[in-house]
């Protein structure tokens, strides 16, 4: 099982010299298994480049199958979908999986992006076959020989974390989520942030505790854990209601779950490469005597779980 990063950025794409090394495309990760259809996690702008690579293979002849796990439908996680070239060839197939979005159908939600005023090609007129698979929190299912599990995260309008197990190796993708301590994020809009470290409504505290337990369980012994670490601890102080974590939160989860490698992901759009280097170096130093290995996601980075890269 190999993991390839096509987009590592949060919120919106950021072109420019200052993002050349880590990359400016929004979230998209590919899981490659020899002899298995590609599994893509999230469809940010990084997906466009992945699509260009795929259409050199069986996708060119309309014989391609791709699976896609979507964490949630915020723009930075779906905006690459209309520009995914395999969808424009007859015969190709996309199996898309995401959380059941409440009172509407997943397909209807995603169709909005391709609606008239926004994009010229409606979703239902695409040549490829697209199937929408709605998931429940905690559901388990198989994609070929890969076992998939999911659990919900603490994020506005709710996101899902996914665990993939194959051939004795495991990967967890956990983006986007706030830590499970200062605020419960669901369907309410929160205009003014709570005080970080302040008191919490008991019902919310219990719900957050359970959510965290389930996530730790999902990450149990994972070989590779990709985690939303958009904020530095200082940035988090003023934005606990935005739904993103710090490397400290990710490290705590990784340690508790006994994960082997943690990979920082969903970098802040304003973060320059040099600033990202600095954050990475700081936490690398912090973990110098730790069993937990630390990586920082960059566009084009490939991690082979079978070769013990992670």
């Amino acid at each position: 099982m190999r993991v390839r990063f096509w987009g590592v950025r949060g919120s919106f794409p950021v072109p420019g010299k200052q993002t050349n090394r880590y990359g400016g495309n929004t979230s998209c990760v590919e899981v490659e298994i020899d002899g298995h259809a590609p599994i893509v996690i999230d469809a940010g702008t990084g997906l466009r480049q992945l699509g260009k690579r795929l259409v050199r293979n069986e996708f060119l002849d309309g014989k391609g199958l791709v699976h896609m796990l979507v964490s949630h439908t915020h723009w930075d996680h779906i905006q690459g979908l209309p520009y995914f070239s395999p969808l424009y060839s007859e015969g190709n197939e996309l199996q898309l999986y995401a959380r059941q979005p409440g009172d509407t159908h997943l397909g209807a939600v995603l169709a909005h992006q391709n609606d008239g005023p926004y994009f010229p090609v409606p979703l239902d007129s695409l040549k490829a076959r697209v199937q929408f698979n709605e998931l429940l929190e905690g559901q388990q299912f198989d994609i070929g020989d890969v076992r998939v599990r999911c659990t919900r995260l603490n994020h506005p309008w709710i996101a899902m974390a996914y665990r993939l197990d194959y051939g004795g190796k495991s990967l967890v993708y956990c983006s986007d989520t706030a830590p499970f301590r200062d605020i419960l994020l669901e369907h309410e809009f929160i205009a003014t942030p709570p005080t970080v470290g302040g008191p919490l409504d008991t019902k919310h505290a219990i719900k957050l505790h359970m959510m965290r337990e389930k996530l730790v369980d999902l990450c149990q012994g994972a070989d590779f854990l990709i985690y939303d670490t958009q904020f530095t601890p200082v940035e988090y102080e003023s934005k606990p209601h935005w739904g993103h974590s710090t490397p400290d939160d990710a490290i705590a989860i990784a340690r508790e779950a006994g994960a082997k490698t943690l990979c920082l992901f969903h970098h802040a759009p304003a973060r320059t490469d040099d600033q990202q280097d600095e954050i990475f170096a700081t936490y690398k130093h912090l973990l110098r005597d730790d069993n937990l290995e630390l990586l920082c996601a960059a566009e084009g980075m490939v991690v082979d779980l079978d070769k013990g890269d992670a």
Binding site: V14, H112, Y118, H187
Partner: protein, 289 residues
């Protein structure tokens, strides 16, 4: 008037080392008139660095627009993603006291408010609704050829063909000088209609769509965008002073754009329009008209 270019790319932002010189952000151009009023054309991701520049007070705008004071105008060519996707990340919209008037096409279904409200839907955006933005936003529908005043600027618009839909082109005049913005224009193979040429006539600066090479245009005419040859042809007919190529294909590297600009210049010569200067728009470009 002072024109600044913040985003030049069509369809989808194109980050990476091969777009560093021209830029990978989607369309956004700002015009500041002699009175310091800010008028923004299109809200692609280029509007994000514009917002940063405003908060840093590095632009000569009236009333320190941006940090909770003053008002600005936005002219929207159409509602495709690459022309609105920067809006939720334009820093001034979060600051109470900021006033924004957004002008878009009144005729087509993409009424501007509904368009941007749909963008903020909680399924897609943590903002949930436009009402949660701090700024006061007013929406205005524009009819073709309707002239209106924005501070010292005289603005008029014209509908151009764009595949199965249309886009607004804007003509902006101040003190006898004229700027035309014509992104996403896609004429038929026989070229721009005469009334479009008249609309561009003698403009000092024409910012024009130049998505494709002629070879790509052969295969994609139905998408409703221009090649650099289409841009050269209409600029030559209209006798514009300066042609600024714009809205580059997401797959065109800086080297390809360089070459397209060069070939566009050759075409202008061939058409006997050698006095029309051609340049490729790049992020950070500033033109004083």
């Amino acid at each position: 008037m002072r024109v600044d270019v913040w985003g030049v790319r069509g369809s989808i932002p194109a980050p990476g080392p091969t777009t560093n010189r021209y830029g990978g952000n989607t369309p956004c151009v700002s015009v500041i008139d002699t009175k310091g009023h800010l008028c923004v054309i299109d809200m692609g991701t280029g509007i994000v660095p514009l917002g940063t520049a405003l908060l840093q007070k590095s632009l000569p705008v009236r009333d320190d627009f941006g940090a909770g004071k003053g008002n600005a105008t936005v002219l929207l060519s159409h509602g495709h993603w690459d022309h609105i996707q920067g809006f939720p990340f334009f820093a001034p919209v979060f600051i109470p006291g900021t006033k924004l008037s957004i002008f878009g096409n009144a005729r087509t279904a993409d009424r501007v408010e509904a368009l941007l409200e749909g963008q903020m839907n909680p399924q897609f955006s943590p903002i949930y609704t436009l009402k949660n933005l701090g700024a006061t936003i007013r929406f205005e529908g524009v009819r073709e050829h309707q002239c209106f005043r924005v501070s010292d600027l005289e603005v008029s618009s014209m509908e151009l063909p764009h595949g199965e839909t249309s886009v607004l082109s804007f003509q902006i005049k101040e003190q006898g000088k004229t700027l035309i913005y014509a992104s996403d224009a896609g004429y038929s193979a026989s070229g721009a209609p005469d009334d479009v040429v008249e609309f561009y006539r003698d403009a000092d600066v024409l910012i024009h769509d130049s998505t494709y090479t002629p070879e790509e245009q052969e295969l994609r005419r139905n998408r409703g965008l221009s090649s650099y040859l289409d841009a050269a042809a209409v600029a030559a007919r209209a006798g514009v002073g300066k042609l600024v190529l714009f809205h580059y294909d997401q797959d065109h590297s800086d080297d390809i754009v360089d070459e397209n600009v060069r070939l566009c210049g050759q075409e202008l010569e061939r058409l006997g329009a050698g006095r029309t200067e051609v340049v490729g728009a790049f992020e950070g470009m500033q033109i004083d008209i």
